[in-house]
Symmetry: C2
């Protein structure tokens, strides 16, 4: 029997990279029309069948989506990812799809797991979470032509115009912008931002929402950098509140930071200082602290819409009806 054509054969015949071939198969909307036609011709000429599609013909099993679960690390915000897994399970169930979990302690280990599960035909598609700049998982998935959607954008310059892969994310900047505008309107002009150290995509995005809202209002406020820690946020906020020109309110990059800020304000005798967190976790709900709600249920719906064809089974990812390759969910400010 002749050797089956590979993605390398197609790339060679079309004069493009393996990655471009994968893009044509998985995210045709992000490939230039001329290139796409050349690759599609090479695919047809060679009779190339993407790995997953070929596998699917051999089984009648329900389509199964793999998703990685971190070791439980405690903390306030892990609940957002768990909520997403709940919602994804529910939505997938409605569509007759299955969710399979796998454990991994690092991106490298996650790649090993994804390799085992896709080669063994145990999963048909992957949802990855917690993407970061230069994420090796997305490159690996694209090269192998494995259908996947990321909860988290590629964190490159052209995320929206020409995304490297399908993704769904929450518009963090829109969330902190709404929080900042709310405090500017209700508390006063000096709104501080308590955020993570610069360099994390998610943290920088949330900082930008505050910065843009302050600039638009012609206001200015202090920006504090803080690791994700209630105790550290409490200490930094205590120091901030002991200085002259006390802030009128504080927007925070996470609920953990907001809890620290709230405890510091209460200890300083100003328990009503407005503080807004991010994630709307049960902890801030219990403490009566306002927060930005990520709406993980909407993220789950977006992920499945990008992943699935009208057939109700996983198909090689494609453009959405509107030609989009991403979904950006607008979060919701919950005022308490």
């Amino acid at each position: 029997m002749a050797k089956l054509p590979t993605v390398e054969d197609v790339a060679l015949a079309a004069g493009v990279s393996r990655q471009t071939v994968s893009n044509v198969i998985n995210t045709p909307g992000i490939v230039k029309e001329a290139t796409r036609e050349r690759v599609q011709r090479a695919i047809a000429d060679l009779g190339y069948r993407p790995h997953m599609a070929a596998r699917r013909l051999r089984t009648q099993r329900s389509s199964t989506i793999g998703i990685h679960l971190d070791p439980y690390a405690g903390g306030i915000s892990g609940v957002v990812l768990d909520r997403f897994v709940h919602a994804l399970t529910e939505r997938a169930s409605e569509r007759g799809m299955r969710i399979q979990l796998y454990a991994a302690r690092s991106p490298a280990e996650e790649i090993v797991r994804m390799g085992e599960l896709t080669e063994g035909g145990e999963i048909d598609a992957v949802v990855i979470t917690g993407t970061f700049h230069g994420d090796p998982r997305t490159r690996w998935l694209v090269e192998r032509g494995i259908p996947f959607v990321a909860f988290g954008r590629p964190w490159g310059d052209d995320d929206v115009a020409a995304p490297a892969h399908l993704w769904v994310d929450v518009d963090g900047a829109a969330g902190t912008r709404a929080a900042t505008e709310h405090l500017l309107a209700t508390a006063g002009p000096r709104i501080a931002f308590l955020g993570w150290p610069a360099g994390s995509g998610t943290g920088d995005d949330r900082e930008r929402g505050w910065r843009e809202a302050m600039a638009a209002a012609g206001a200015s406020g202090r920006r504090l950098e803080c690791e994700e820690s209630v105790a550290l946020a409490r200490a930094l906020t205590a120091d901030l509140l002991s200085r002259p020109e006390r802030p009128d309110g504080i927007v925070c990059a996470s609920d953990s930071l907001a809890i620290g800020a709230h405890l510091a304000a209460a200890a300083a005798g100003i328990p009503d200082l407005p503080v807004i967190g991010f994630d709307n976790t049960p902890a801030v709900e219990a403490m009566g602290i306002s927060s930005v709600e990520q709406l993980p249920e909407e993220v789950a719906v977006g992920v499945l819409e990008l992943l699935m064809g009208a057939s109700g089974r996983v198909v090689a990812p494609r453009e959405t009806a509107a030609g989009e390759a991403h979904v950006l969910v607008e979060p919701r400010l919950v005022v308490r």
Copy 2:
């Protein structure tokens, strides 16, 4: 081809119920020796092959355990079940097993899902959670001979001596007993209990630990009943603290109740009133409230030990090495 013998045929031949046949297959340790031998003889004579074992011969796929995920309901304590799912995924992964999630909004719907997944050969075993008295899921699983372990005891009179099925649970009474003894030793003799309305297995078990510790110390304290609500717990505690003979401390059936009690105490000007919750969730950790930690990681280990044979694949459940059919995890008091 002759019709394959069924579990009914075996029951008829041995003069026992279907459930006893299933017990012999799945939990032989809980069946009297004479009965067990009679059923095993009938199984051998008829050549009966339990459904799952026969199916397993047809596939080389990794053993897959199904577990139900509720719709996300918010609240403080859901995080315990999520921690358990994280731990189960990690431990199962180490053993080359898979975890598949399914959604269901009621026990009846969960039975439908389990039926689809086991009949389709998609899962080999089930872990059910949140068991209750008269749980229809356990009866259904036992009747069909599907390997399963419950996180949660059967809540019958003979849970430990002759359990109706394999189970792992946290010793709630031991947790509230330790909490009560700690407060009796450090705060004073008047320790109140803020618990759920009588009638829930879990809630009654936690109430018992407080009651027994108080009786052993010759102490007495008020017992308040409260739905699982921060606001309601706060109102009830505020009322309690406004009366004469204020309690020296409060043991609570959950972290939500403990947060309500703590907020009421703080509002009444006694923020240092000792309050102990149950579940050790991130919310009480952030607020500095003591709590009883369920150790879901140990529950996950117990579940897999009961479910698996030495082969590292799901086998028809059996006695553990020690002849036990259950694991009771001792929780840990975290004092803050």
